[in-house]
């Protein structure tokens, strides 16, 4: 789906067209799963969150003001849903203290020995992201995996571009240390 086509699909979804909305769901579900996975430690929780997100989005499409803002709006809503689910289920929230994490070596659970026992390369990669402090993993997924700009990621995470830049750099550092 190119950018121009996506504008029309988003617009039709705002009008309440279920067929157009279905195209958005099919197109963007893989991205949303990956983003949600950065909040949770397993795919099941991530998938539950994705379902909740899409239903909320469908119900509130009419509140979207601008077609071009859709993707950022969608990911912001996803972030809220994930955080709400974590809070309500008393799931572990990894609070990031940027200064504390900065410059420290990768923790033991990111070591190659630990990671080698993971089932597959894909799961191994996800386990590395999952072991990052939550906000670092989210920034890494948005920027490096989903190709968002620092500005877009900052809007979604409700923070500044420089904070996102720092988080992505620290995430990369931890990931590189984990795989090397």
């Amino acid at each position: 789906m190119d950018a121009l086509e996506q504008l029309a699909i988003v617009g039709r979804s705002r009008e309440g067209d279920p067929e157009a909305f279905g195209m958005l769901v099919s197109d963007l579900t893989p991205s949303l799963r990956r983003y949600c996975r950065s909040f949770f430690e397993n795919w099941q929780d991530a998938d539950d969150a994705v379902q909740e997100v899409w239903i909320k989005v469908w119900k509130s499409m009419h509140t979207l003001q601008q077609n071009g803002a859709f993707k950022t709006w969608l990911f912001r809503m996803t972030r809220h849903v994930c955080l709400d689910r974590i809070r309500s289920s008393q799931n572990r929230v990894q609070v990031v203290d940027a200064e504390e994490f900065s410059g420290q070596p990768a923790p033991e659970h990111l070591s190659p020995e630990y990671l080698a026992v993971q089932r597959s390369e894909v799961e191994r990669a996800w386990s590395i992201v999952a072991k990052l402090p939550s906000t670092l993993g989210q920034a890494f997924v948005l920027v490096c995996l989903e190709g968002m700009t620092y500005e877009q990621a900052a809007t979604i995470a409700n923070t500044s571009e420089s904070t996102i830049r720092g988080r992505v750099a620290r995430a990369r550092k931890a990931i590189i240390e984990a795989v090397s």
Partner: protein
């Protein structure tokens, strides 16, 4: 914090990994090598994270979502309006009107209709005064003046084909390919 022989740290390079290399990096082989090493190592992880293993899961999940959504039809505003030919008052939904306007736009080679909103502006029933908001992208190098007439014509044809319309105001928002608003204008009859 590891420092390269040129004096820069790995953190310096990590912070700018998504930017183009600066002049120093272009000329410094240590920085160049470090940038490549960092990129290569994250690329391996990224390729796994983008792995195809979960494609089927995403498809199943999307299907589940769509089946749940099929039970959640959006609220549709309906209007009582007189037919143009007979004056008989009928109930018509916004989506029906939008569908007629969209049908007209399907003939256009100059503008793509991205979003439409329709509402009656008169308080009395049946409604004969309408506001239509259209968000469009321009498909060619046509000017705004060139497409505004066409848009008004399409909206009139879509709305007025069956309904009696005494007054019509069209608000047109033109957006670029990224959805950024380029211009806004109002026209009417």
């Amino acid at each position: 914090m590891k420092t390269l022989p040129c004096g820069r740290t790995i953190e310096d390079i990590l912070h700018k990994l998504d930017d183009a290399p600066d002049l120093h990096e272009l000329e410094c082989h240590w920085c160049h090598q470090e940038r490549r090493r960092l990129k290569d190592q994250t690329t391996i992880v990224l390729s796994h994270l983008r792995g195809e293993d979960h494609t089927a899961d995403s498809t199943d999940l999307a299907s589940n979502v769509l089946s749940k959504i099929s039970n959640l039809r959006p609220m549709q505003r309906t209007w009582e309006a007189p037919l143009r030919e007979t004056g008989e008052v009928v109930r018509i939904s916004s989506s029906e009107i939008i569908s007629r306007i969209r049908q007209q736009f399907s003939y256009s080679h100059k503008a793509q209709l991205n979003y439409t909103e329709v509402k009656a502006t008169d308080a009395k029933i049946p409604h004969v005064q309408w506001l239509v908001r259209c968000t469009v992208s321009m498909l060619t190098e046509a000017t705004v003046q060139q497409i505004e007439g066409e848009i008004l014509e399409y909206v009139q044809a879509g709305l007025g084909a069956e309904l009696l319309v005494e007054r019509l105001r069209v608000e047109i928002t033109i957006e670029d390919v990224h959805g950024e608003i380029l211009s806004y204008l109002e026209i009417g009859t």
